[in-house]
């Protein structure tokens, strides 16, 4: 492997994942939280692909396809929920939709 060393990909993946985590924990907007989750998933995908390339094996690719499929399904369901919540509550702040907890 020439050019970009492996550690750079992994560092990028870690940075993206950390950003996702930070967004998930700190932001209140549901859509931002949702995007943070997608960011984390894709950060993980990146590291899967990296290792797959490293070991010259196809497992990592297959795994990342699975993750993409699940993420797509999740996006469909999640966005539908968000739309419904917004229609009913007229808010996107996740702290305001905690009535199930009480």
């Amino acid at each position: 492997m020439t050019g970009v060393p492996l550690s750079w990909y992994l560092t990028l993946s870690a940075v993206l994942f950390a950003l996702g985590v930070a967004g998930f924990l700190l932001r209140r907007n549901v859509i931002t939280v949702f995007m943070s989750i997608e960011l984390m998933l894709n950060a993980v995908n990146l590291s899967f692909i990296t290792f797959s390339y490293q070991w010259k094996q196809v497992n990592g690719h297959i795994f990342s396809f699975f993750v993409m499929v699940v993420a797509a399904a999740e996006a469909a369901v999640g966005l539908a929920i968000i739309l419904t919540v917004f229609k009913n509550r007229a808010t996107l702040n996740i702290d305001d939709v905690s009535s199930m907890k009480d």
Binding site: L25, I94, S98, K101
Partner: protein, 612 residues
């Protein structure tokens, strides 16, 4: 020979009356209760007739009760000459008292309950005397204690009766504690509880061991037979119905201690210190109980202290080595003391419940049968020759004289006091003017009959049954004593006591009050029974109650036990209160915990050197 049938008859009677008695007529209850005891008596007679001279013990083994290692305890019964005497006394006198009870209890509530308890008592008492080892004996021993408790508290709606029952039960617990310890020591040193096995290997044990065992057995005997310092329950036990006082607290149960000491004679003869203790305790009890009896006004209390005193005589006899004389006195005492109690019961019955001799008087003409039978008992207990008490008391006093002269003299003085207080009760109750309000009536024949039989036995029983000779194969022949002098002295003291009682209560009725006034301190001391109950109350009962209340209740129970339980509960709640904050329901806080956890995990793995 089917020895087991002897106690089983009354047991069946107890079960029938106890379970179905409420629905049965009085006649049926009577038939079951008296029938079972009389059958038992008949079976005793048949068995003894079949066993011949009884020079060797006849033992029957029924089943192995406890087997543990080398220890093997069977449920065995045995009959030898000593058991034969006890069986005859228990079932014979027991039958008479059962018959008497028909009349005495006729108007009382709980009729069937009374006879059920009485039959249960007979069962346990017969188990006690038939036992072939200490443990079976202990079963009977505890059982008679239970029945004693139940029957003392028979009038359970009266506070003093239930208190007296509790007192008897608790004081007996002290004695039973000694008996249990003695059994443990016997198991440790002999490896068996069988009378035969233990007594045949007594020679191989050290004197210290045997003395310890003998002392502990003596503690048990003191509790059951009401000796100093555990005699306090017996006078209170008079709260029970009078036939109970006669059967349990005069004739049979209280003599169990004497029987046990006589049964353990092999141990005692190898433990001279314990023998001396038996003699001294017996003598002290005889003397002090007699002095208390001098000033009691309740007719049953007089006879109760008399019983304590006479039991002391039996212990004295056993303690000076004359076991057969002790058993002799046990038998004659069963006759005349049962008669005295039954006579007292007849008087109480005639007067509708009056027990105070100061409210009696002049009953001689009104209830002549009771009067004459009680006089028979009184001359017997006073040791007037040739009646029953004379022979047995003389045998004990002669043995005491051989042992130590001072014991003889204390015994003789006690004999004088015995004659005095018994005749005091007789003179106060039957002579002079009638001082009560009730209308006395003679008791029914079902009560008079047993009195007459017992009167005949009290008069002739001593001459008729030469028990020392009968027991000679077991305890050795009685020492031949031809010292006529001591015998004359003891008889003179007895007659002197009677004469003094006659002087005080027949000819000069003002004299006792004058004497009581002159020696008022001494009189008060005796009248209040030396304040022993008060001393025990202050020294034992109050500290125990206070300790239970202040320490066991308020500290141990409330602080320690409740504290531990409540503390465990509130700790759990406190920890739960902290832990429940984790379960917030907030997704982001969960995520933060997950993050924290995974970071920590990664960190630890990094420190440990990574995954390999």
């Amino acid at each position: 020979m089917q020895l087991w049938l002897i106690p089983v008859f009354p047991l069946v009677g107890f079960l029938l009356n106890g379970i179905f008695g409420r629905r049965l007529s009085k006649a049926a209850v009577n038939a079951i209760a008296i029938g079972s005891v009389v059958l038992s008596f008949a079976w005793v007679l048949k068995t003894l007739a079949g066993l011949g001279d009884l020079n060797a013990a006849h033992t029957e083994q029924y089943f192995t009760w406890i087997q543990s290692g080398t220890l093997n305890i069977g449920f065995d019964f045995t009959v030898d000459r000593l058991t034969a005497i006890m069986l005859l006394v228990v079932t014979g006198v027991g039958s008479l008292i059962h018959i008497y009870s028909i009349g005495y209890m006729a108007h009382e509530g709980g009729y069937y309950r009374f006879f059920a308890y009485l039959n249960l008592f007979m069962f346990f008492m017969l188990t006690l005397v038939l036992a072939a080892n200490y443990l079976v004996m202990f079963v009977g021993w505890e059982g008679v204690g239970l029945c004693s408790y139940l029957l003392i508290g028979f009038y359970f709606d009266k506070k003093f009766a239930t208190n007296a029952g509790n007192k008897a039960f608790i004081v007996n617990r002290i004695g039973d504690f000694g008996f249990s310890l003695a059994m443990f020591l016997i198991v440790v040193h002999f490896g068996s509880l069988d009378f035969g096995a233990v007594f045949s290997s007594v020679g191989g044990q050290s004197e210290a061991t045997l003395t310890a065992i003998a002392f502990l057995l003596l503690v048990g005997a003191c509790g059951k037979s009401a000796q100093i310092p555990l005699y306090v329950w017996l006078p209170d036990a008079m709260a029970g119905p009078t036939p109970v006082s006669a059967l349990i607290h005069a004739a049979t149960m209280v003599t169990a201690g004497v029987y046990m000491v006589a049964r353990s004679a092999a141990i005692y003869t190898h433990a001279p210190a314990a023998m001396e203790a038996v003699a001294i305790i017996g003598l002290a009890t005889a003397f002090f109980a007699a002095t208390i009896g001098l000033a009691q006004n309740d007719i049953k209390k007089v006879f109760a202290y008399s019983t304590v005193s006479q039991l002391g005589y039996m212990f004295l006899g056993a303690g000076v080595g004359a076991f057969s004389a002790g058993v002799y006195h046990l038998v004659t005492h069963a006759f005349f003391k049962a008669l005295l109690f039954l006579g007292a019961g007849s008087v109480i019955h005639a007067l509708g419940g009056e027990q105070d001799v100061r409210n009696m008087g002049g009953l001689r003409k009104k209830i002549p049968w009771t009067f004459w039978t009680m006089v028979c008992a009184a001359v017997a207990i006073a040791g007037v020759p040739p009646f029953a008490g004379f022979y047995s008391k003389d045998a004990i006093l002669m043995a005491a004289d051989n042992h130590a002269h001072w014991m003889y003299w204390v015994g003789v003085i006690t004999a004088g006091m015995t004659a005095f207080y018994v005749f005091r009760a007789i003179f106060l109750a039957f002579f002079g003017e009638y001082r009560g309000k009730a209308h006395p009536h003679e008791s029914p024949w079902v009560m008079i009959g047993p009195l007459v039989v017992l009167a005949a036995l009290s008069l002739a029983g001593g001459k008729l049954f030469n028990i020392p000779e009968f027991l000679a194969p077991m305890f050795g022949p009685p020492k031949e004593t031809n010292n006529f002098g001591p015998m004359i002295i003891s008889v003179a003291f007895g007659l002197g006591g009677i004469a003094l009682a006659a002087l005080f209560y027949l000819f000069k009725p003002g004299l006792p009050d004058q004497i009581a006034a002159t020696f008022s301190g001494l009189y008060k001391l005796i009248y209040n029974k030396y304040f022993v109950d008060e001393i025990y109350d202050a020294a034992v009962v109050t500290p125990v109650v206070a300790g239970s209340r202040e320490v066991l209740w308020k500290v141990v129970d409330v602080a320690v036990i409740d504290g531990a339980v409540n503390g465990a509960g509130s700790r759990a709640r406190g920890i739960g209160g902290v832990l429940k904050r984790l379960q917030s329901g907030n997704i982001r806080s969960y995520a933060a915990w997950v993050l924290l956890g995974s970071v920590l995990l990664l960190f630890v793995m990094g420190v440990m050197g990574g995954l390999r």
